[in-house]
Symmetry: C2
Subunit: 316 residues, 2 copies
């Protein structure tokens, strides 16, 4: 029932980059981009070589107007066969809504700490694992093959409850797999991780997951997102979330920088010897769309300033 | 004749951070900070726990007014015994001037490529090694113990001539040691390095240098400075240059970000298990001085925005 191997084909020489700006990037912006702007963002992203887009969350549009057009964006992403759409599902209602669409991937959130789970989802960790189970059941009868990702925020430390024992994350990941997840995403939601923490946890998650894809989701809150990405690559994670311009913020990390900057991540991966199949200049050009649609947002990143590096410092 | 073990005492649990903003940070700024401002910067830096300041370059003050007060700054740094002053010396005249002062350290530049050497110093690589020799001789008769650092810009790739063979850097480092250098600094002047290049070269430089201290100098031109610092720490380099606010630019990397952000570097080191003996908030407070003195400069860095992390995510 799953198409996980189509969406995340294993290739040890290649890094798959997921653009999560349309979802995670829009949580705190002052002015929401128009649907037309988002479509341009996706189209230019495809044009640059991106194949994975997290386009929104199924939430009440009155409270979350930034995701009101999530169905349109799923359709926009899915126009091309090899490009995949993903949505966040935070409750049973969202799952029911999601499986009525052509979305390729459902991301269920299972917080690494009970405290964050309650604050973020108003739901216990145990209930969140039930949500993975519910998503797994729902997709079976939905007439379309889809992937279930279990995302574990605060995997590297929690801004509410403090340190997170590695074993707790491993146990959660195991429970999510048992509940039907096809892929595990470990997230440094508030930028507490440093390379040592990344290698320590990521190595064990990769081992636990065996052939199940592991995604890493990094925020640059304290400047270490790229260093952490390098550490993750070192231990065999080759699916990484990012957002053009480092868009995004988190209600639990006020004042902080957002997601790891996707264009800088491309340079890191290529310089570390991995293919990304992404055209860096075309990716950088997406910033113009973001600047036009969200004039109040700071766009982060260094490559947009310095320009793509000379070919000689690029992948092969 | 050297005090290298006083200035760079070996401690595998500790990282020594060198503030190079007063020298490397001022190469491209629009308005130069006042001497009073620089003194405040140094004083607040000491207060934060910094012990190493690169305060300028002995160059003709008419052409390089930003370094006209270098002697005052050496005196300011040296007011406390355990704080060390460093200057760049680009020619014989500079060496003669430097050894008349109380400066603790002379940094001689030996470019990794002949092309950059000519463009930057109007001097061949071979002549640059002679400069190390000259500095070594001059300090012997200067009535004060001093350290000679040989700094090798473009060690990880050159914006003029392209890729730099590792062996070329190793040969240069060996020649510098032979010429009397007490420490070797390898520099990613234009931000071409990625973690793999860092570990590859740094590991061999550390091996070559044996008990001789190795410094790494990183620019964040393409966002990888902190990732590269982590890689350097991994292979045993524990003396790292940086600048508060990521100040600095390079005439050979137009539009690019400057030095690695010192305050973010502190967080990286502490999270990787090294002591820095630096008070992060006090370090961050230096940015106010920089903003006042150089209102046109962008101050980079994430920790100043996010605030110091909770104690639990800090070094012991």
């Amino acid at each position: 029932m799953s198409i996980v191997n189509d969406i995340y084909p294993f290739d040890s020489q290649r890094v798959i980059l997921r653009e999560v700006g349309l979802r995670d990037g829009l949580q705190q912006v002052r002015k929401y981009p128009s649907t037309v702007g988002k479509v341009a963002w996706i189209s230019q992203g495809k044009n640059a070589g991106l194949r994975h887009f997290e386009v929104g969350s199924f939430l009440p549009p009155k409270r979350y107007p930034q995701f009101a057009d999530v169905r349109d964006l799923i359709n926009c992403v899915n126009e091309i066969d090899e490009v995949f759409s993903s949505v966040l599902v935070m409750n049973e209602r969202a799952i029911a809504d999601a499986v009525k669409t052509n979305v390729d991937e459902l991301v269920c959130v299972v917080s690494a700490t009970e405290e964050h789970s309650q604050a973020n989802m108003r739901r216990s960790q145990s209930d969140s694992i039930d949500l993975v189970r519910a998503a797994n059941n729902a997709r079976k009868f939905s007439g379309r093959k889809r992937v279930i990702v279990a995302a574990i925020p605060m995997s590297f430390g929690c801004s509410i409850s403090g340190e997170v024992p590695k074993q707790a994350v491993l146990n959660l990941a195991a429970s999510c797999l048992e509940a039907g997840a096809d892929a595990i995403s470990i997230a440094d939601t508030v930028g507490f991780a440093a390379p040592l923490q990344i290698t320590d946890l990521a190595r064990d998650v990769v081992k636990l997951c065996a052939k199940v894809p592991v995604i890493i989701h990094l925020h640059d809150t304290r400047g270490l997102a790229l260093a952490n990405a390098a550490a993750a690559l070192d231990v065999g994670i080759n699916i990484i979330d990012g957002a053009v311009g480092g868009l995004g913020g988190c209600p639990f990390a006020p004042g902080a920088t957002g997601n790891v900057v996707l264009e800088d991540l491309v340079f890191l991966c290529e310089r570390m010897g991995f293919r990304t199949d992404i055209d860096l200049q075309k990716l950088i050009d997406i910033r113009q769309i973001l600047a036009r649609e969200m004039p109040d947002e700071i766009l982060y990143g260094t490559l947009a300033r310095a320009g793509p590096p000379p070919r000689i410092y690029w992948g092969s």
